[in-house]
Protein backbone atom coordinates (compact mmCIF):
# COMPACT_ATOMS: atom_id res chain seq x y z
CA UNK A 1 0.00 0.00 0.00
CA UNK A 2 2.91 2.31 0.79
CA UNK A 3 4.26 2.09 -2.73
CA UNK A 4 0.95 2.99 -4.35
CA UNK A 5 1.21 6.74 -3.94
CA UNK A 6 4.74 7.15 -5.40
CA UNK A 7 3.77 4.93 -8.31
CA UNK A 8 0.73 7.08 -9.06
CA UNK A 9 2.96 10.15 -9.02
CA UNK A 10 5.38 8.42 -11.42
CA UNK A 11 2.61 8.01 -13.96
CA UNK A 12 1.22 11.50 -13.47
CA UNK A 13 3.18 13.20 -16.30
CA UNK A 14 2.04 10.56 -18.80
CA UNK A 15 -1.59 10.90 -17.69
CA UNK A 16 -1.46 14.70 -17.91
CA UNK A 17 -0.06 14.61 -21.45
CA UNK A 18 -2.68 12.14 -22.66
CA UNK A 19 -5.54 14.08 -21.11
CA UNK A 20 -4.15 17.32 -22.51
CA UNK A 21 -3.93 15.86 -26.05
CA UNK A 22 -7.48 14.50 -25.90
CA UNK A 23 -8.86 17.80 -24.63
CA UNK A 24 -6.89 19.75 -27.26
CA UNK A 25 -8.21 17.47 -30.01
CA UNK A 26 -11.80 17.89 -28.77
CA UNK A 27 -11.50 21.67 -28.54
CA UNK A 28 -9.70 22.15 -31.85
CA UNK A 29 -12.23 20.06 -33.79
CA UNK A 30 -15.03 22.20 -32.27
CA UNK A 31 -13.29 25.55 -32.74
CA UNK A 32 -12.07 24.89 -36.29
CA UNK A 33 -15.43 23.31 -37.17
CA UNK A 34 -13.88 20.15 -38.72
CA UNK A 35 -16.36 17.83 -40.44
CA UNK A 36 -17.26 14.73 -38.40
CA UNK A 37 -16.48 12.32 -41.26
CA UNK A 38 -13.07 13.92 -41.71
CA UNK A 39 -11.97 13.89 -38.06
CA UNK A 40 -14.42 13.06 -35.31
CA UNK A 41 -13.73 14.48 -31.82
CA UNK A 42 -12.70 12.04 -29.07
CA UNK A 43 -16.14 12.23 -27.46
CA UNK A 44 -17.77 10.84 -30.61
CA UNK A 45 -15.16 8.05 -30.80
CA UNK A 46 -15.84 7.11 -27.17
CA UNK A 47 -19.57 7.02 -27.85
CA UNK A 48 -18.91 4.81 -30.89
CA UNK A 49 -16.78 2.42 -28.79
CA UNK A 50 -19.43 2.32 -26.10
CA UNK A 51 -22.35 1.79 -28.51
CA UNK A 52 -20.77 -0.98 -30.58
CA UNK A 53 -18.63 -2.59 -27.90
CA UNK A 54 -19.91 -6.12 -28.50
CA UNK A 55 -19.34 -5.78 -32.23
CA UNK A 56 -15.82 -4.37 -31.69
CA UNK A 57 -14.94 -7.07 -29.17
CA UNK A 58 -16.01 -9.82 -31.58
CA UNK A 59 -13.63 -8.49 -34.27
CA UNK A 60 -10.91 -7.88 -31.67
CA UNK A 61 -11.23 -11.52 -30.66
CA UNK A 62 -10.76 -12.63 -34.30
CA UNK A 63 -7.55 -10.57 -34.59
CA UNK A 64 -6.36 -11.78 -31.19
CA UNK A 65 -6.72 -15.41 -32.25
CA UNK A 66 -4.72 -14.80 -35.43
CA UNK A 67 -2.01 -12.97 -33.48
CA UNK A 68 -1.80 -15.64 -30.77
CA UNK A 69 -1.39 -18.36 -33.38
CA UNK A 70 1.05 -16.37 -35.56
CA UNK A 71 3.12 -15.25 -32.60
CA UNK A 72 3.40 -18.79 -31.22
CA UNK A 73 4.43 -20.20 -34.60
CA UNK A 74 6.99 -17.38 -34.91
CA UNK A 75 8.56 -18.20 -31.57
CA UNK A 76 8.88 -21.90 -32.41
CA UNK A 77 10.23 -21.12 -35.89
CA UNK A 78 12.68 -18.53 -34.55
CA UNK A 79 14.00 -20.84 -31.84
CA UNK A 80 14.58 -23.60 -34.42
CA UNK A 81 16.26 -21.25 -36.91
CA UNK A 82 18.44 -19.55 -34.29
CA UNK A 83 19.50 -22.89 -32.80
CA UNK A 84 20.44 -24.18 -36.25
CA UNK A 85 22.39 -21.01 -37.05
CA UNK A 86 24.31 -21.28 -33.78
CA UNK A 87 24.88 -25.02 -34.09
CA UNK A 88 26.49 -25.16 -37.52
CA UNK A 89 28.27 -22.79 -39.85
CA UNK A 90 26.72 -24.56 -42.85
CA UNK A 91 23.20 -24.03 -41.55
CA UNK A 92 24.07 -20.39 -40.92
CA UNK A 93 25.37 -19.89 -44.47
CA UNK A 94 22.30 -21.58 -45.93
CA UNK A 95 19.62 -19.94 -43.79
CA UNK A 96 20.81 -16.39 -43.28
CA UNK A 97 20.44 -15.27 -46.92
CA UNK A 98 16.95 -16.77 -47.08
CA UNK A 99 15.92 -15.10 -43.83
CA UNK A 100 17.27 -11.70 -44.90
CA UNK A 101 15.68 -12.00 -48.36
CA UNK A 102 12.31 -12.80 -46.79
CA UNK A 103 12.52 -9.42 -45.04
CA UNK A 104 13.44 -7.43 -48.16
CA UNK A 105 10.21 -8.43 -49.93
CA UNK A 106 7.49 -5.91 -49.04
CA UNK A 107 5.07 -8.14 -47.14
CA UNK A 108 2.14 -6.00 -48.34
CA UNK A 109 2.76 -7.30 -51.86
CA UNK A 110 2.83 -10.86 -50.58
CA UNK A 111 -0.52 -10.64 -48.80
CA UNK A 112 -2.68 -10.76 -51.98
CA UNK A 113 -0.59 -13.69 -53.24
CA UNK A 114 -1.14 -15.55 -49.99
CA UNK A 115 -4.90 -15.18 -50.46
CA UNK A 116 -4.55 -16.86 -53.86
CA UNK A 117 -2.36 -19.63 -52.44
CA UNK A 118 -3.95 -20.48 -49.12
CA UNK A 119 -7.40 -18.85 -49.35
CA UNK A 120 -9.10 -16.38 -47.05
CA UNK A 121 -9.24 -18.50 -43.93
CA UNK A 122 -7.17 -17.77 -40.83
CA UNK A 123 -3.95 -19.26 -42.25
CA UNK A 124 -3.35 -16.38 -44.70
CA UNK A 125 -3.37 -13.91 -41.80
CA UNK A 126 -1.25 -16.16 -39.61
CA UNK A 127 1.41 -16.42 -42.34
CA UNK A 128 1.58 -12.63 -42.71
CA UNK A 129 1.97 -12.27 -38.93
CA UNK A 130 4.73 -14.90 -38.90
CA UNK A 131 6.57 -13.08 -41.72
CA UNK A 132 6.42 -9.87 -39.69
CA UNK A 133 7.40 -11.31 -36.33
CA UNK A 134 9.91 -14.14 -36.72
CA UNK A 135 12.70 -11.87 -37.94
CA UNK A 136 13.22 -9.71 -34.82
CA UNK A 137 13.02 -12.84 -32.67
CA UNK A 138 15.63 -14.76 -34.73
CA UNK A 139 18.05 -11.83 -34.82
CA UNK A 140 17.82 -11.11 -31.10
CA UNK A 141 18.05 -14.78 -30.20
CA UNK A 142 21.12 -15.36 -32.37
CA UNK A 143 22.89 -12.34 -30.88
CA UNK A 144 21.91 -13.50 -27.39
CA UNK A 145 23.25 -17.01 -27.98
CA UNK A 146 26.45 -15.50 -29.41
CA UNK A 147 26.99 -13.31 -26.34
CA UNK A 148 28.31 -16.32 -24.42
CA UNK A 149 31.84 -16.01 -23.06
CA UNK A 150 34.41 -18.55 -24.36
CA UNK A 151 35.80 -18.83 -20.81
CA UNK A 152 32.37 -19.89 -19.55
CA UNK A 153 32.17 -22.53 -22.28
CA UNK A 154 35.63 -23.83 -21.30
CA UNK A 155 34.66 -23.89 -17.62
CA UNK A 156 31.66 -26.08 -18.46
CA UNK A 157 33.85 -28.34 -20.59
CA UNK A 158 36.27 -28.87 -17.69
CA UNK A 159 33.27 -29.95 -15.64
CA UNK A 160 32.53 -32.52 -18.33
CA UNK A 161 29.62 -30.81 -20.10
CA UNK A 162 28.55 -32.17 -23.49
CA UNK A 163 27.77 -29.65 -26.28
CA UNK A 164 24.06 -30.17 -25.64
CA UNK A 165 24.51 -29.56 -21.89
CA UNK A 166 26.49 -26.40 -22.65
CA UNK A 167 23.66 -25.24 -24.91
CA UNK A 168 20.99 -25.94 -22.30
CA UNK A 169 22.73 -24.81 -19.12
CA UNK A 170 24.74 -21.87 -20.47
CA UNK A 171 23.68 -20.61 -23.89
CA UNK A 172 19.91 -20.65 -23.47
CA UNK A 173 19.95 -18.85 -20.10
CA UNK A 174 22.52 -16.32 -21.44
CA UNK A 175 20.33 -15.52 -24.43
CA UNK A 176 17.11 -14.88 -22.49
CA UNK A 177 17.50 -11.10 -21.93
CA UNK A 178 17.98 -10.35 -25.63
CA UNK A 179 15.38 -12.97 -26.61
CA UNK A 180 12.81 -10.98 -24.65
CA UNK A 181 13.95 -7.74 -26.31
CA UNK A 182 13.13 -9.37 -29.67
CA UNK A 183 9.81 -10.70 -28.37
CA UNK A 184 8.75 -7.18 -27.34
CA UNK A 185 9.39 -5.85 -30.86
CA UNK A 186 7.58 -8.83 -32.35
CA UNK A 187 4.59 -8.37 -30.02
CA UNK A 188 3.94 -4.86 -31.29
CA UNK A 189 4.66 -5.68 -34.93
CA UNK A 190 2.34 -8.70 -34.83
CA UNK A 191 -0.65 -6.34 -34.60
CA UNK A 192 0.43 -4.61 -37.83
CA UNK A 193 0.76 -8.04 -39.44
CA UNK A 194 -2.80 -8.93 -38.46
CA UNK A 195 -4.21 -5.67 -39.90
CA UNK A 196 -2.38 -6.11 -43.21
CA UNK A 197 -3.42 -9.75 -43.47
CA UNK A 198 -7.05 -8.87 -42.83
CA UNK A 199 -6.96 -5.87 -45.14
CA UNK A 200 -6.35 -8.06 -48.17
CA UNK A 201 -8.43 -11.11 -47.56
CA UNK A 202 -10.85 -11.40 -44.71
CA UNK A 203 -14.45 -10.88 -43.73
CA UNK A 204 -13.76 -10.21 -40.08
CA UNK A 205 -11.19 -8.81 -37.68
CA UNK A 206 -10.15 -5.25 -36.82
CA UNK A 207 -8.17 -4.75 -40.05
CA UNK A 208 -11.17 -5.70 -42.14
CA UNK A 209 -13.39 -3.48 -39.99
CA UNK A 210 -11.13 -0.48 -40.58
CA UNK A 211 -11.14 -1.07 -44.33
CA UNK A 212 -14.95 -1.38 -44.55
CA UNK A 213 -15.66 1.52 -42.17
CA UNK A 214 -13.13 3.72 -43.98
CA UNK A 215 -14.77 3.01 -47.34
CA UNK A 216 -18.11 4.12 -45.91
CA UNK A 217 -16.65 7.26 -44.28
CA UNK A 218 -17.53 5.91 -40.83
CA UNK A 219 -14.45 7.63 -39.49
CA UNK A 220 -15.44 7.27 -35.82
CA UNK A 221 -15.61 3.51 -36.31
CA UNK A 222 -12.12 3.49 -37.88
CA UNK A 223 -10.82 5.32 -34.83
CA UNK A 224 -12.66 2.94 -32.53
CA UNK A 225 -10.89 0.03 -34.26
CA UNK A 226 -7.55 1.82 -33.89
CA UNK A 227 -8.19 2.24 -30.16
CA UNK A 228 -8.94 -1.49 -29.86
CA UNK A 229 -5.77 -2.33 -31.82
CA UNK A 230 -3.66 -0.13 -29.54
CA UNK A 231 -5.12 -1.76 -26.45
CA UNK A 232 -4.45 -5.18 -28.01
CA UNK A 233 -0.82 -4.29 -28.80
CA UNK A 234 -0.21 -2.85 -25.34
CA UNK A 235 -1.75 -5.88 -23.65
CA UNK A 236 0.44 -8.21 -25.70
CA UNK A 237 3.51 -6.12 -24.89
CA UNK A 238 2.61 -6.11 -21.20
CA UNK A 239 2.15 -9.89 -21.29
CA UNK A 240 5.67 -10.31 -22.71
CA UNK A 241 7.03 -7.99 -20.00
CA UNK A 242 5.31 -10.06 -17.28
CA UNK A 243 6.79 -13.32 -18.64
CA UNK A 244 10.17 -11.59 -18.96
CA UNK A 245 10.11 -10.34 -15.37
CA UNK A 246 9.27 -13.82 -14.15
CA UNK A 247 11.84 -15.60 -16.32
CA UNK A 248 14.64 -13.20 -15.36
CA UNK A 249 13.71 -12.99 -11.67
CA UNK A 250 16.97 -14.65 -10.61
CA UNK A 251 19.21 -12.60 -12.92
CA UNK A 252 21.44 -9.91 -11.46
CA UNK A 253 19.82 -6.48 -11.36
CA UNK A 254 22.38 -5.26 -13.93
CA UNK A 255 20.71 -7.47 -16.56
CA UNK A 256 17.45 -5.60 -16.19
CA UNK A 257 18.62 -2.27 -14.82
CA UNK A 258 18.21 0.71 -17.12
CA UNK A 259 20.91 3.37 -17.15
CA UNK A 260 19.40 6.84 -17.44
CA UNK A 261 21.71 9.69 -18.13
CA UNK A 262 18.94 12.20 -17.54
CA UNK A 263 17.99 11.46 -13.93
Amino acid sequence: MNSLRPRLIEWLPAAIIIIFLIVAWEVLVEVLDVQRWLLPPPSVIFVEIFDSLGFLLRHTWVSTTEIALGFSISIVLAVLLASGIIWSRTVERTLYPVIITSQTIPIITLAPLLIIWVGTDIMSKVIVIVLFTFFPIVISLVSGLRSVDQEMVDMLRTLGASPWQTFRKLMIPSSLPSFFAGLKVAAVVSVIGAVIGEWFGSSEGLGWLMKIAGGQFQTARVFAAIVMLSILAMTLFAAVVVVEKWSLRKYPPTATRVIRLGD
Binding site: M155, T158, L159, K169
Partner: protein, 269 residues
Protein backbone atom coordinates in the same frame (compact mmCIF):
# COMPACT_ATOMS: atom_id res chain seq x y z
CA UNK B 1 57.45 -46.68 -21.14
CA UNK B 2 57.62 -45.56 -24.73
CA UNK B 3 60.57 -43.58 -26.00
CA UNK B 4 59.59 -40.27 -24.48
CA UNK B 5 61.12 -37.00 -25.57
CA UNK B 6 64.04 -35.79 -23.55
CA UNK B 7 62.99 -35.38 -19.95
CA UNK B 8 65.55 -33.37 -18.13
CA UNK B 9 64.91 -33.30 -14.42
CA UNK B 10 62.74 -36.40 -14.08
CA UNK B 11 63.57 -40.05 -13.71
CA UNK B 12 61.42 -42.98 -14.76
CA UNK B 13 60.38 -43.91 -11.25
CA UNK B 14 58.82 -40.53 -10.47
CA UNK B 15 57.04 -40.55 -13.82
CA UNK B 16 55.45 -43.92 -13.21
CA UNK B 17 54.31 -43.08 -9.69
CA UNK B 18 53.03 -39.63 -10.49
CA UNK B 19 49.32 -38.92 -10.53
CA UNK B 20 49.94 -36.23 -13.11
CA UNK B 21 52.64 -36.43 -15.74
CA UNK B 22 53.24 -33.81 -18.39
CA UNK B 23 56.12 -34.95 -20.58
CA UNK B 24 57.95 -33.16 -23.35
CA UNK B 25 54.89 -31.11 -24.23
CA UNK B 26 54.93 -28.57 -27.02
CA UNK B 27 52.07 -26.25 -27.93
CA UNK B 28 51.66 -23.71 -30.72
CA UNK B 29 49.18 -20.92 -31.11
CA UNK B 30 48.81 -19.39 -34.57
CA UNK B 31 52.34 -20.45 -35.66
CA UNK B 32 53.93 -19.09 -32.49
CA UNK B 33 55.51 -21.65 -30.20
CA UNK B 34 53.99 -21.13 -26.75
CA UNK B 35 55.46 -24.16 -24.97
CA UNK B 36 58.55 -26.12 -25.95
CA UNK B 37 59.47 -29.49 -24.41
CA UNK B 38 57.90 -28.78 -21.02
CA UNK B 39 57.90 -31.62 -18.48
CA UNK B 40 56.60 -31.86 -14.94
CA UNK B 41 55.14 -34.50 -12.69
CA UNK B 42 53.02 -34.18 -9.57
CA UNK B 43 52.47 -36.89 -7.00
CA UNK B 44 49.44 -37.60 -4.91
CA UNK B 45 49.31 -35.14 -2.01
CA UNK B 46 51.87 -32.85 -3.63
CA UNK B 47 51.37 -29.14 -4.25
CA UNK B 48 53.35 -27.63 -7.15
CA UNK B 49 53.40 -23.93 -8.03
CA UNK B 50 54.24 -22.51 -11.46
CA UNK B 51 55.64 -19.00 -11.49
CA UNK B 52 56.89 -17.00 -14.43
CA UNK B 53 56.51 -13.82 -16.44
CA UNK B 54 53.21 -12.96 -18.10
CA UNK B 55 52.68 -14.80 -21.34
CA UNK B 56 55.12 -17.62 -20.54
CA UNK B 57 52.36 -20.19 -21.00
CA UNK B 58 51.57 -20.97 -17.35
CA UNK B 59 47.82 -20.98 -17.91
CA UNK B 60 48.29 -22.87 -21.18
CA UNK B 61 49.79 -25.75 -19.17
CA UNK B 62 46.62 -25.93 -17.08
CA UNK B 63 44.44 -25.76 -20.19
CA UNK B 64 46.41 -28.66 -21.66
CA UNK B 65 46.21 -30.78 -18.49
CA UNK B 66 42.45 -30.19 -18.14
CA UNK B 67 41.87 -31.11 -21.78
CA UNK B 68 40.58 -27.71 -22.93
CA UNK B 69 43.52 -27.50 -25.38
CA UNK B 70 45.24 -30.21 -27.43
CA UNK B 71 49.05 -30.45 -27.28
CA UNK B 72 51.14 -30.44 -30.46
CA UNK B 73 53.63 -32.92 -29.07
CA UNK B 74 54.43 -34.85 -25.91
CA UNK B 75 52.19 -36.84 -23.63
CA UNK B 76 49.91 -35.80 -20.80
CA UNK B 77 48.44 -38.22 -18.28
CA UNK B 78 46.24 -37.21 -15.37
CA UNK B 79 44.71 -39.86 -13.07
CA UNK B 80 45.61 -42.44 -15.70
CA UNK B 81 43.83 -40.59 -18.51
CA UNK B 82 46.04 -39.76 -21.46
CA UNK B 83 43.32 -39.02 -24.01
CA UNK B 84 42.49 -35.30 -24.09
CA UNK B 85 38.71 -35.74 -24.33
CA UNK B 86 38.73 -38.22 -21.43
CA UNK B 87 40.41 -35.71 -19.15
CA UNK B 88 37.62 -33.16 -19.67
CA UNK B 89 35.38 -33.54 -16.63
CA UNK B 90 37.92 -35.65 -14.74
CA UNK B 91 40.43 -32.97 -13.75
CA UNK B 92 39.28 -30.24 -11.37
CA UNK B 93 40.14 -26.81 -12.71
CA UNK B 94 39.51 -23.48 -11.07
CA UNK B 95 40.02 -20.66 -13.55
CA UNK B 96 41.26 -17.19 -12.82
CA UNK B 97 37.78 -15.67 -12.96
CA UNK B 98 35.11 -17.23 -10.78
CA UNK B 99 32.84 -17.76 -13.84
CA UNK B 100 29.75 -18.30 -11.69
CA UNK B 101 26.52 -18.54 -13.66
CA UNK B 102 24.68 -15.35 -12.65
CA UNK B 103 21.20 -16.90 -12.76
CA UNK B 104 22.08 -19.74 -10.37
CA UNK B 105 22.23 -19.51 -6.59
CA UNK B 106 25.42 -20.38 -4.71
CA UNK B 107 24.16 -23.92 -4.08
CA UNK B 108 23.11 -24.36 -7.72
CA UNK B 109 26.49 -23.08 -8.95
CA UNK B 110 28.39 -25.32 -6.55
CA UNK B 111 26.66 -28.49 -7.66
CA UNK B 112 27.02 -27.79 -11.40
CA UNK B 113 29.78 -30.37 -11.94
CA UNK B 114 27.79 -33.11 -10.21
CA UNK B 115 24.64 -32.12 -12.10
CA UNK B 116 26.47 -32.47 -15.43
CA UNK B 117 27.49 -35.98 -14.40
CA UNK B 118 23.84 -36.87 -13.91
CA UNK B 119 23.86 -36.87 -10.10
CA UNK B 120 20.36 -36.13 -8.82
CA UNK B 121 19.68 -32.67 -7.39
CA UNK B 122 18.91 -33.95 -3.91
CA UNK B 123 22.09 -36.01 -3.79
CA UNK B 124 24.31 -33.18 -5.09
CA UNK B 125 22.65 -30.67 -2.74
CA UNK B 126 23.53 -32.91 0.17
CA UNK B 127 27.13 -33.03 -1.05
CA UNK B 128 27.21 -29.22 -1.27
CA UNK B 129 25.75 -28.77 2.22
CA UNK B 130 28.33 -31.17 3.65
CA UNK B 131 31.24 -29.05 2.41
CA UNK B 132 29.60 -25.61 2.68
CA UNK B 133 30.59 -25.23 6.33
CA UNK B 134 34.33 -25.75 5.75
CA UNK B 135 34.18 -23.51 2.68
CA UNK B 136 32.62 -20.76 4.78
CA UNK B 137 29.57 -20.39 2.55
CA UNK B 138 26.98 -22.25 4.63
CA UNK B 139 24.98 -19.04 5.19
CA UNK B 140 25.12 -18.05 1.53
CA UNK B 141 23.78 -21.17 -0.19
CA UNK B 142 20.59 -19.43 -1.29
CA UNK B 143 22.31 -16.15 -2.22
CA UNK B 144 22.86 -15.16 -5.82
CA UNK B 145 26.46 -14.62 -7.06
CA UNK B 146 25.97 -10.87 -7.52
CA UNK B 147 25.21 -10.54 -3.82
CA UNK B 148 28.62 -11.97 -2.83
CA UNK B 149 32.03 -10.38 -2.32
CA UNK B 150 34.94 -11.37 -4.57
CA UNK B 151 36.41 -13.63 -1.88
CA UNK B 152 33.14 -15.47 -1.37
CA UNK B 153 32.73 -15.94 -5.11
CA UNK B 154 36.20 -17.55 -5.30
CA UNK B 155 35.23 -19.96 -2.51
CA UNK B 156 32.12 -20.98 -4.47
CA UNK B 157 34.20 -21.42 -7.63
CA UNK B 158 36.65 -23.64 -5.75
CA UNK B 159 33.84 -25.69 -4.22
CA UNK B 160 32.36 -26.19 -7.70
CA UNK B 161 35.76 -27.33 -8.97
CA UNK B 162 36.54 -29.79 -6.16
CA UNK B 163 33.07 -31.24 -5.61
CA UNK B 164 33.39 -33.88 -8.38
CA UNK B 165 36.35 -35.08 -6.25
CA UNK B 166 38.93 -35.57 -8.99
CA UNK B 167 42.43 -36.52 -7.78
CA UNK B 168 44.08 -33.71 -9.80
CA UNK B 169 43.29 -30.06 -8.97
CA UNK B 170 44.44 -27.11 -11.09
CA UNK B 171 44.33 -23.55 -9.75
CA UNK B 172 44.91 -20.58 -12.07
CA UNK B 173 45.64 -17.44 -10.03
CA UNK B 174 42.73 -18.30 -7.73
CA UNK B 175 43.18 -15.21 -5.55
CA UNK B 176 44.74 -12.88 -8.12
CA UNK B 177 41.87 -10.42 -8.23
CA UNK B 178 41.46 -10.08 -4.46
CA UNK B 179 42.75 -7.51 -2.01
CA UNK B 180 45.81 -8.46 0.10
CA UNK B 181 43.94 -9.18 3.35
CA UNK B 182 41.29 -11.37 1.75
CA UNK B 183 43.99 -13.12 -0.26
CA UNK B 184 46.10 -14.08 2.74
CA UNK B 185 43.10 -15.33 4.71
CA UNK B 186 41.99 -17.41 1.70
CA UNK B 187 45.52 -18.81 1.31
CA UNK B 188 45.43 -20.05 4.91
CA UNK B 189 41.98 -21.43 4.35
CA UNK B 190 43.07 -23.20 1.16
CA UNK B 191 45.93 -24.88 3.02
CA UNK B 192 43.44 -26.17 5.58
CA UNK B 193 40.95 -27.38 2.99
CA UNK B 194 43.65 -29.23 1.03
CA UNK B 195 45.63 -30.49 4.03
CA UNK B 196 43.95 -33.85 4.16
CA UNK B 197 42.73 -34.11 0.59
CA UNK B 198 45.69 -36.04 -0.85
CA UNK B 199 45.20 -34.40 -4.25
CA UNK B 200 47.86 -33.55 -6.79
CA UNK B 201 47.64 -29.76 -7.01
CA UNK B 202 49.11 -27.40 -9.63
CA UNK B 203 48.90 -23.69 -8.84
CA UNK B 204 49.68 -20.96 -11.36
CA UNK B 205 50.52 -17.62 -9.76
CA UNK B 206 52.28 -14.31 -10.26
CA UNK B 207 52.81 -14.01 -6.56
CA UNK B 208 56.11 -15.55 -5.37
CA UNK B 209 55.02 -15.27 -1.70
CA UNK B 210 51.90 -17.25 -2.47
CA UNK B 211 53.93 -19.91 -4.29
CA UNK B 212 56.36 -20.36 -1.37
CA UNK B 213 53.58 -20.34 1.20
CA UNK B 214 51.38 -22.93 -0.49
CA UNK B 215 53.64 -25.18 -2.55
CA UNK B 216 55.98 -28.07 -1.86
CA UNK B 217 57.86 -27.29 -5.05
CA UNK B 218 58.05 -24.15 -7.18
CA UNK B 219 58.72 -24.43 -10.91
CA UNK B 220 60.11 -21.27 -12.46
CA UNK B 221 59.25 -20.63 -16.09
CA UNK B 222 60.82 -18.52 -18.80
CA UNK B 223 59.06 -17.31 -21.91
CA UNK B 224 59.38 -17.27 -25.72
CA UNK B 225 58.87 -20.19 -25.89
CA UNK B 226 57.60 -21.17 -22.46
CA UNK B 227 59.94 -23.55 -20.70
CA UNK B 228 60.60 -24.66 -17.15
CA UNK B 229 63.96 -23.15 -16.28
CA UNK B 230 64.37 -24.07 -12.61
CA UNK B 231 62.88 -26.07 -9.81
CA UNK B 232 62.96 -24.96 -6.17
CA UNK B 233 62.03 -27.29 -3.31
CA UNK B 234 60.22 -25.54 -0.50
CA UNK B 235 61.15 -27.01 2.86
CA UNK B 236 60.35 -24.46 5.51
CA UNK B 237 61.03 -25.14 9.18
CA UNK B 238 58.20 -22.86 10.20
CA UNK B 239 54.63 -23.98 9.55
CA UNK B 240 52.96 -22.19 6.64
CA UNK B 241 50.04 -21.62 9.02
CA UNK B 242 52.25 -19.44 11.15
CA UNK B 243 51.43 -15.79 10.49
CA UNK B 244 55.07 -14.74 10.77
CA UNK B 245 56.35 -17.30 8.28
CA UNK B 246 56.55 -14.86 5.41
CA UNK B 247 58.93 -12.61 7.36
CA UNK B 248 61.25 -15.43 8.51
CA UNK B 249 64.76 -15.38 7.14
CA UNK B 250 64.48 -18.75 5.36
CA UNK B 251 61.31 -17.52 3.60
CA UNK B 252 63.03 -14.33 2.49
CA UNK B 253 66.08 -16.34 1.29
CA UNK B 254 63.81 -18.54 -0.85
CA UNK B 255 61.95 -15.55 -2.20
CA UNK B 256 65.19 -13.85 -3.16
CA UNK B 257 66.40 -17.01 -4.84
CA UNK B 258 63.20 -17.40 -6.89
CA UNK B 259 63.10 -13.71 -7.81
CA UNK B 260 66.70 -14.02 -8.99
CA UNK B 261 65.76 -16.98 -11.15
CA UNK B 262 62.84 -15.01 -12.58
CA UNK B 263 64.96 -11.89 -13.04
CA UNK B 264 67.62 -13.73 -15.04
CA UNK B 265 65.10 -14.61 -17.66
CA UNK B 266 63.59 -11.17 -17.78
CA UNK B 267 67.02 -9.99 -18.88
CA UNK B 268 67.92 -12.81 -21.25
CA UNK B 269 64.56 -13.22 -22.98
Amino acid sequence: MNSAPQINHLNLETINNALLSFLGVGFDYEDASILEDVSLTVDRGEFVALVGPSGCGKSTILNLISGVLEARSGSITASGLSNRADRLGNVSYMQQKDLLLPWRSVAENSRLGLELRGVSNSESSTAVEKLAESFGIADELDSMPWQLSGGMRQRVALLRAVLPDNPVLLLDEPFGALDAITRSSLQQWLLNVLDTSNKAVVLVTHDVDEAILLADRVLVMSSNPGQISAEVKIDLDASPHDASVSTSSEFIELKKHILDLLGDHEVTQ
